[in-house]
Symmetry: C2
Subunit: 504 residues, 2 copies
């Protein structure tokens, strides 16, 4: 490692350069969503396309390929560096396996399919979207075939590789199916309790500037380093890691509904804490400086949003601060009322508006259907019928139209097939990690109630963040929690909360 | 031109790519001054250095050099395109004439010299800065020698090329010297009138948010396209053209002194209107899409700040709006009082705080001294004495210490020798252009008083902005105003104002 001319040192240098160039594109993207005047859109597209092409060329160069081969044969590399090389190989293969013609066809079809989808959704007219979805499915099959199906797997597994390296559809199904059937039963019990409307108290109107000040207070109190990041406002909240020391979050404010912005901020903060915890200074652009997968990333956002932010302990601590910064209304509520209002469970048609418990049913539905579509077990023409019948089985509700059914999400129109499962993986990993953290630190709730979130953040850094992509998600889960991912922890957590809030 | 494979078409394409890459660096710089968290500084330096190197490589490539030669021999190019090639040649030569070792030495010396300067200025200790200034002067001489002295000129002319292509020190001196002697006399008369303290009324304290709202109102009313630009807050105000459709201004607010932010906004708006008026859509990255020189750029900022913004007509229009948006105090003043307070003339030691009239004396002083330093007619050791004696002659004031004397400006510590004259060139060009515009549109003041600034902006676009670098500054001045630059228009303007405001 001290020899500056080893293949490995050269490879790391090339990776860092590509990473730095990639971080420039991240700023171009962030600025486009936050402050760019609309007149700059065309020039921005030109800038982003130019930088993206340069990043792609650097990451897929023949030189990088040769250096990876040389490193794979270098027996002197320590294990941690070998894991770095293993992930570089994975990235290189993924990036070089797709012919440019297919990448181009997917991109241009997606642009048109998104337009068609917007229009179809607005008119709730599946027929006009159908040919586009058929085309996208065909392109997804071609993509899966270029990537190659893993041994013993199915084409869907190949698509999963982009988002959740190492995940397998059959294994996901084994976790999701029991989760869904138990959740369906739990949600039915909650509905039967008849308490939902009473618990869903209506908050007062709160100025966006006060909500923003409270968001900043939460970030600071919970460990997000505002000297190495910031919070802005955008139409669609996101977290963007712009490089070492610069992680940016966004949220959006609705004056009559503070919860949207507050939980949105906690969600993006969870992503941001992960980004801030990655060893970027030393490892920028290398797999060891990057997040493992979308599922693990989502586990961090869901943990801070839900397992921490929707806990009674959180409200015990946050209530007086919310009262001081946002509205005296908070002081007039009991902690129990605030806790309950943050944990209302109510089946609804739209995924992005779903609560913590029903959310996973939305995912199971999409995962099951897109897997069947890809396999060819389900035709695109049959999709609305299959969606509606499965929805009724899971939620006990009849879908009134495709706008609130199979046309609601943008993902399929932009070729994101295999992406949905990562949302539920986030919930599952979050619960299993959190249960382990709580076992290691039994006073976690008492600490939260005092505003002390450092032990949890420290635990996450030590066990998850600092490793970058050293371990795959499944392996990390076993190392940290002592067992494979299953639905146990999430179900225990959701059932415990249902018992506290709903008495069921 | 329709042939896609001509050398000229290829050259334009390469220029646009380099320009687009350069605009990415402009965003990195803008973000660094506005929203970047401090923790991102190291990564930002890495990003900027990487992009700057790539831009430099593209603009100085052998291929670009070959294509320029081919275009210079292409007799079929229309005149306007030949001017484009002429300016590409100039840029290429400037960029390739300096050896990388000298560029590196200047950059690293400047970094250290700036630190030494900050320290010396704080302690008013010229002795510790002296060796650094000697070194910077020596490097400036080397730079001038690499560029080469123009025929019949002096080394200072070579340095001027970077900022004001085609300008010559001897010609500048011929304009500046009579300007300075007449101004000195005018300023002495103004001082003798004894009216300054009475005219300098103190405005009330005004919230930054109200000042910002008024600034936005001015921008919109005066023709700055806020769909293709924006206004933010920074420690040091600037204007940054980020590419076609995206021009960003900044200002800073002091609650007890609205004039600083307001005139700062009008100044940057002047730069911004020029950026928005350049034909960037078609010509981005080419000389024909760029500003001519610092002096011409400054003429646009000074015109909107001073000749428009400090006019009685401006206040006639602005008063009720300022009253509505900022403070009822404005409605309680007479237009004459607002006009006078915006045109107070008072000699002072610090250039950046100087009024419109005394400002040019500050510049003459610096220009004279740095020219003598470069020539070797003045040694660095003699600088404080020469500064103080010339200052007293020009301003009638004794310099109390070097902090308020020859140590006040950052320029010399960062190798910006030859830059100062462009500030006064801005004032001179502004006055000469404005006098011409007024002759062409005799009702300009009546229009300003009604809030109609479009005729002036249209005139500037037609006569100046749209041409990019088609003409050099001196040539443009003759084409637009019918004569070479001289001090007549500026003196007539300043004397006229002194008569109105001070009755002298």
């Amino acid at each position: 490692m001290s020899n500056e001319n080893t293949s490995y040192t050269q490879l790391r240098k090339l990776m860092r350069e590509a990473g730095t160039l990639g971080s420039v594109n991240a700023l171009l993207a962030w600025d486009q969503e936050t402050y760019m005047p609309s007149g700059g859109a065309d020039a921005r597209a030109e800038q982003r396309s130019m930088i993206a092409t340069m990043v792609h060329e650097r990451r897929t160069s023949a030189r990088v390929g040769e250096l990876i081969v040389a490193c794979e044969h270098d027996a002197s590399l320590p294990e941690i560096e070998r894991s770095n090389v293993r992930e570089m190989r994975r990235d290189y293969d993924l990036l070089t396996k797709l012919p440019a013609s297919l990448v181009g066809e997917i991109a241009s079809t997606a642009t048109k399919a998104q337009e068609a989808w917007k229009d179809a959704r607005e008119k709730s007219d599946f027929a006009t979207f159908r040919p586009w979805l058929e085309k996208m499915m065909e392109l997804a099959r071609q993509k899966a075939s270029c990537y190659g199906t893993p041994a013993g797997g199915e084409p869907y597994d190949a698509l999963l590789e982009e988002y959740e390296p190492g995940a397998r559809a059959a294994e996901l199904q084994q976790v999701f199916t029991p989760l869904a059937s138990e959740l369906s039963a739990l949600i039915a019990k909650i509905g039967a309790s008849g308490k939902t409307d009473r618990l869903a108290i209506k908050p007062p109107s709160i100025d966006a500037s006060k909500q923003h000040a409270f968001g900043q207070f939460l970030l600071k109190s919970m460990g997000f380093d505002l000297n190495a990041g910031r919070l802005d406002t955008t139409a669609h909240p996101f977290c963007e890691g712009l490089g070492p020391g610069d992680t940016r979050l966004t949220t959006r404010y609705r004056e009559d509904e503070f919860g949207g912005a507050m939980y949105g901020t906690l969600h993006e903060m969870g992503h941001g804490l992960y980004e801030q915890g990655l060893p970027k200074l030393e490892r920028y652009g290398e797999p060891l400086g990057e997040a493992i997968s979308l599922g693990i990333h989502e586990s961090q956002s869901r943990m801070w949003e839900n397992l921490v932010g929707r806990s009674r302990a959180f409200w015990t601590w946050a209530q007086p601060h919310a009262s001081k910064t946002m509205s005296a209304w908070f002081a007039a509520q009991s902690v129990d009322a605030l806790y309950s209002m943050s944990n209302v469970v109510k089946p609804s048609f739209i995924r992005v508006e779903a609560d913590e418990a029903t959310y996973n049913l939305h995912i199971l539905l999409r995962f099951t259907l897109e897997r069947a579509l890809l396999k060819g077990d389900l035709s695109v023409a049959e999709l609305p019928g299959a969606w509606n019948s499965m929805f009724e089985k899971l939620f006990g509700l009849r879908v009134p139209d495709d706008r609130r059914g199979c046309l609601q999400d943008v993902h399929w129109s932009c070729a994101l097939i295999g992406y949905f499962p990562t949302y539920s993986l986030g919930n599952l990993y979050a619960a299993q990690f959190f249960e382990t953290a709580r076992a290691a630190m039994p006073d976690l709730d008492e600490r939260f109630a005092r505003g002390d979130f450092a032990p949890l953040l420290g635990w996450l850094c030590t066990n998850i963040h600092q490793h970058g992509r050293r371990y795959r998600a499944g392996e990390l889960c076993e190392r940290v929690t002592g067992k494979k991912l299953d639905s146990g922890a999430l179900l225990r957590y959701l059932k415990g909360k249902a018992a506290e809030v709903y008495g069921v």
